[in-house]
């Protein structure tokens, strides 16, 4: 036993160990605080969680589930990117290839079902937060961050919808993006955009309105596929990741998970 203790001491006193765990074993309150202060990940998490905050019947664990599904989507999505090319020549066949030929054909299904589950989880999380009144001060800022995260979740679903490049995808995005035509002022069928004129010439038309900027053309095409791919894989996850960091940090700063009323 003595030799085990000696090895343990050796490891804990080594430079490598000390460089990673700077505070040492957090066996006092002071060291516990320092351990949290010195760690990015622990910083995002509340220092203390109330007993009620761990009750499934109160939280439904839907915020945690949403985050877990986001991680699942990140990992499976990253793996799919090794096989998928966002061009009209290859997109559909690459999806078929992912299902039929690539190892673990379930990977694409996990990504797809994970996406459905994430939308449901985010909605349920919002529902729980609403029903428990957890949007009230001091948590109103975090409620707003959450609303933006909900929109980003839906946008991730929307942009991912196009990538299989089958008939369902193309027409669903045709229909969905047509709503941008009704943007006030910026869509060619939206209210007030008819007022933006140079003499008799309307300046907002199908070739330069909000929908055009979104899909990169007058109709869904190669430009749309590439654009949605970049939004889906890079732009929206980056913004969502940043907002999630704020979201979790604010949960801690606003007093942890709210208690039952």
């Amino acid at each position: 036993m003595a030799s085990v203790r000696a090895i343990q001491e050796n490891i804990v006193n080594s430079q490598i160990w000390k460089s990673v765990f700077r505070v040492g074993i957090p066996n006092t309150n002071r060291k516990r605080v320092l351990a949290v202060l010195g760690s990015l990940i622990l910083h995002l998490h509340p220092v203390k969680v109330r007993r009620s905050g761990t009750r499934m019947s109160y939280t439904w664990c839907m915020g945690g589930t949403s985050f877990f599904l986001f991680l699942v989507e990140t990992v499976t999505g990253l793996l799919l990117m090794f096989y998928y090319r966002p061009t009209i020549e290859y997109a559909f066949t690459d999806i078929m290839d992912l299902r039929e030929q690539a190892p673990f054909g379930i990977m694409r299904e996990m990504h797809r079902w994970g996406a459905h589950a994430m939308v449901i989880a985010v909605w349920l999380h919002m529902f729980r937060v609403f029903m428990t009144g957890s949007y009230k001060p001091p948590r109103e800022f975090n409620w707003n961050v959450g609303v933006i995260l909900l929109v980003l979740t839906l946008l991730l679903s929307f942009t991912g919808y196009l990538l299989p490049w089958d008939q369902l995808a193309i027409w669903a995005i045709t229909v969905g993006s047509s709503m941008a035509r009704a943007t006030p002022g910026a869509g060619n069928e939206g209210p007030m955009s008819g007022l933006i004129k140079l003499g008799d010439i309307r300046l907002i038309h199908a070739g330069d309105d909000a929908r055009f900027g979104l899909i990169g053309g007058r109709s869904i095409g190669a430009a749309t596929l590439l654009r949605f791919y970049v939004l889906h894989c890079v732009a929206i996850p980056l913004v969502a990741g940043f907002l999630m960091a704020i979201h979790f940090w604010r949960v801690r700063k606003d007093g942890g998970i709210s208690g039952p009323l």
Partner: protein, 190 residues
């Protein structure tokens, strides 16, 4: 702010010559009086830079060249089209139905005015029917069923004087609900 106002010129000469404050001024250091100008200029510069960046990012998303079928094309001669028929030969390539009646010929744009899908021409039922949400249109393009709020659009159509062929130009559309189908450019008389 005009150009010639720099933080250092607006500082008045003070009777404190020889003092520490005067020394600092001569060396071009910040003073309480110059600070508001500097901070205003800095905020203006930052706002201008961010505004410029935002407009560049916005403009970048609007491509200059589109890899889409051309908007204007020649569609052969009037005699190539049967009277009373909806002709589908240009639908796949250009998204246009050419319809010839006893008196006129017009070009319908094959984009549903509800949410942009492509309707089908059903000859047996003598109507256009959109597969997405079921909007229906008469042969004229006027809507009669489903969720669509307005008729199909017609494209500019004319006869090329040089060779007598039909020319369809999708870049100019005619809306029935705006009363534009009476425009002589929206049909050709036969």
């Amino acid at each position: 702010m005009s150009e010639e106002i720099t933080p250092y010129q607006v500082v008045p000469k003070t009777p404190l010559a020889g003092s520490a404050a005067a020394d600092i001024r001569e060396q071009g250091e910040m003073t309480r009086r110059s600070f508001p100008f500097v901070i205003t200029a800095a905020w203006l510069a930052l706002t201008a830079a961010l505004g410029g960046l935002a407009s560049v990012l916005g403009r970048f998303m609007f491509p200059n060249v589109l890899f889409e079928p051309v908007q204007k094309f020649k569609a052969g001669f009037v005699a190539d089209y049967a009277v009373g028929e909806v002709d589908e030969r240009w639908k796949d390539k250009f998204g246009i139905w050419l319809v010839r009646t006893e008196e006129v010929m017009y070009a319908l744009i094959s984009v549903c005015t509800h949410l942009g899908c492509t309707p089908n021409w059903l000859p047996t039922q003598n109507k256009f029917k959109c597969p997405c949400h079921g909007s229906g249109y008469y042969k004229s393009g006027v809507n009669f069923e489903g969720p669509t709020p307005r008729p199909l659009e017609r494209a500019k159509i004319s006869i090329d004087i040089a060779d007598g062929q039909i020319v369809v130009d999708k870049s100019k559309q005619f809306h029935q609900e705006r009363g534009e189908w009476t425009d002589p450019e929206s049909f050709i008389k036969i």
